[in-house]
Symmetry: C2
Subunit: 198 residues, 2 copies
DNA sequence: GTCCGCAGCCTAACACCAGTAGGCGAGAAC
DNA sequence: GTTCTCGCCTACTGGTGTTAGGCTGCGGAC
């Protein structure tokens, strides 16, 4: 019997695959061990905990999402960058629904401190810089942009759009265009409300 | 011993309270039974399943949210209605985090077919009608609005905003103002892209 | 008032899961 | 070749969902 190729990153990757095929909440230590043909307690050499395993799936997802979004944004600006950024999110959900699910969860402290989390923010910032949004406003815009994309995709994922007629794809285009409008007018709107020069 | 005050709606309500205090995933049949001083199998007279219990918490949340949002919108229009609608969502999350969590989940078929789900959409439509958004565009706007609000609040809930400086409250105001801008310009943007008269 | 039906809660039991304690053997170090 | 170490193992505990079937006390029929 080969001593085994079991490994922390291998275990996490397998957990992510199980999440994608059967949903995150069916990612269980017993299921992961079964998929390796191994007994459950053997995993504790590589993973502290079930919670830690799921947290690491979250970190993996953050990392992959940041990479995919970064590639989609590279060399583009404004509307093109925004479209690529949004499409990266949507395609990641389509390709890896279980890992996406892991992003919609409150993760442990070591997961949120991971560099992968910061990378996602950095890519978002790159899009906003293309719109000329800087300073403290950029944090607000990051949150608005991230929230809108995540929220739409999450509603689509849980089936909220499945029972009304127009396909979600069209609404998605509307959302991206709406965000373009918001980002284009961000500065003017901010100054008109007198928040930037108090 | 009183024959019991156990009841389907009482059980669901207790499950919702447990969700609010300890999180939705700690809503377990064993915990609900314990809170009534009753054995676990006794609950099966009132609830089909653990999944059904959680689905009914979702329906309860949809109903309460629709009521709260409806009251916040009544007699208002445009920016005022939007602000009330958004504030209703945010306050519901603050007051009932566990029930909110139940809204971010894929629910069973009988839950999504519940009248409560339609009521939420109707209230949203009322806000959009105030902006003069009608016809097929209204579905898109409903999804954009719902997605943006849900997404922002969900990111706030899972702590995504806890590690950057400006408080989330300010970003929330920015989001509501941004949505006002989007809804105000919805019609123009739609026609300018030639989608309404194909 | 007495009896019966039945709804509602009970015990018993099974399968599954997370997590802990300690054993054992294969490969590496020397 | 001997020894050490690490990775996987077995055995076990406590908790969970779910089913099957028993008991009991309340409400209605007479």
């Amino acid at each position: 019997m080969p001593r085994s190729s079991l490994n922390r990153s291998v275990v996490v990757r397998r957990a992510a695959e199980l999440a994608d095929t059967h949903g995150l909440e069916s990612v269980t230590l017993a299921a992961v061990a079964r998929s390796f043909g191994v007994q459950t307690p053997s995993l504790y050499s590589h993973v502290r905990d079930l919670a830690a395993l799921r947290d690491q799936v979250t970190v993996l997802a953050l990392d992959e999402l940041a990479t995919r979004a970064g590639e989609a944004v590279a060399g583009r600006s404004r509307h093109d960058a925004l479209r690529g950024f949004a499409a990266a999110h949507r395609s990641y959900l389509a390709d890896h629904p279980g890992r996406w699910e892991a992003l919609q969860r409150r993760a442990g402290p070591e997961a949120v401190a991971a560099p992968a989390a910061r990378r996602v923010v950095q890519v978002t910032d790159a899009v906003l810089l293309g719109y000329g949004i800087t300073g403290p406003d950029r944090t607000h815009a990051t949150r608005v942009l991230g929230g809108a994309l995540n929220g739409f995709l999450n509603l689509e994922r849980i089936g909220s759009f499945a029972h009304s007629s127009p396909p979600a794809e069209q609404s998605w285009q509307e959302l991206v265009d709406a965000l373009h409008l918001v980002l284009t007018h961000w500065h003017q709107r901010g100054t008109s409300r007198g928040e930037e020069t108090p």
